[in-house]
Symmetry: C2
Subunit: 140 residues, 2 copies
């Protein structure tokens, strides 16, 4: 269904930042993610708007976390991206049909419930958890 990589890129970037004491440039993050620095800036811009990271222009600039990795839950990261809903209601059901005319609201409410459970599950993980798991894998 969805092939949007922004969330994965965001978690990857945050994990990198959590693993580093110094700020990292878009270039460095892009190299680890394997994409273009502009893609990183675009993605990180959303995280910055939500107060998760800070960026600095110019020489010795780059990105750094504004919070402890263990205080950044993945649910918040996900929500920072302002993605559209994972389950989409169809657009123009027939208003003159008893089902078509009334199903949109019902679906919306069910889909919201499902998505909210998904986000709750994401909230069980923090950036610190991801970094720990990654390091554990690295040591195998």
């Amino acid at each position: 269904m969805n092939a949007n990589q922004r969330f994965a890129i965001s978690v990857h970037a945050l994990t990198l930042l959590a693993s580093s004491s110094d700020p990292l440039t878009s270039e460095m993050i892009a190299s680890s993610v394997d994409t273009n620095p502009v893609v990183i800036r675009r993605t990180m811009a959303s995280l910055r708007e939500h107060g998760l990271v800070e960026s600095k222009s110019g020489a010795k600039g780059g990105w750094r976390l504004l919070r402890e990795p263990k205080e950044i839950g993945l649910c918040e990261v996900y929500r920072s991206l302002d993605e559209v809903n994972v389950l989409a209601v169809h657009s123009h059901p027939n208003k003159h049909c008893p089902i078509g005319g009334n199903i949109s609201g019902v679906l919306r409410s069910v889909f919201e419930d499902a998505q909210s459970e998904m986000e709750k599950a994401l909230g069980n993980y923090t950036v610190a958890d991801i970094l720990n798991d990654v390091r554990r894998k690295a040591n195998q």
Copy 2:
């Protein structure tokens, strides 16, 4: 993120079928959904492959449920569509970076967990529930 309407269309179609004693043609379902009959056939084909509905060609043909509406959970409907995962892992992280080289598996496992919670939430609703809710809305 995802703007795929197949799941919404499927639930809509199944609800319609649940509301009708006779089989419904792709044409009739398409009219309620407001789309083309071919889109309905394509979507319903997945549900048929998973034993949720049956289709019959020819005059007086059409679609009908193979199970009681209260025995069709939305999780099963969702899974019948073989959609890709709602949260996508990014494609080629840098294998030579300690983070990039190990994060894919970690993300996959977290994303699977989140999606599984979403599907579990969908499973709390059946087609009969949706039909009831739609009818309740219609009577307001």
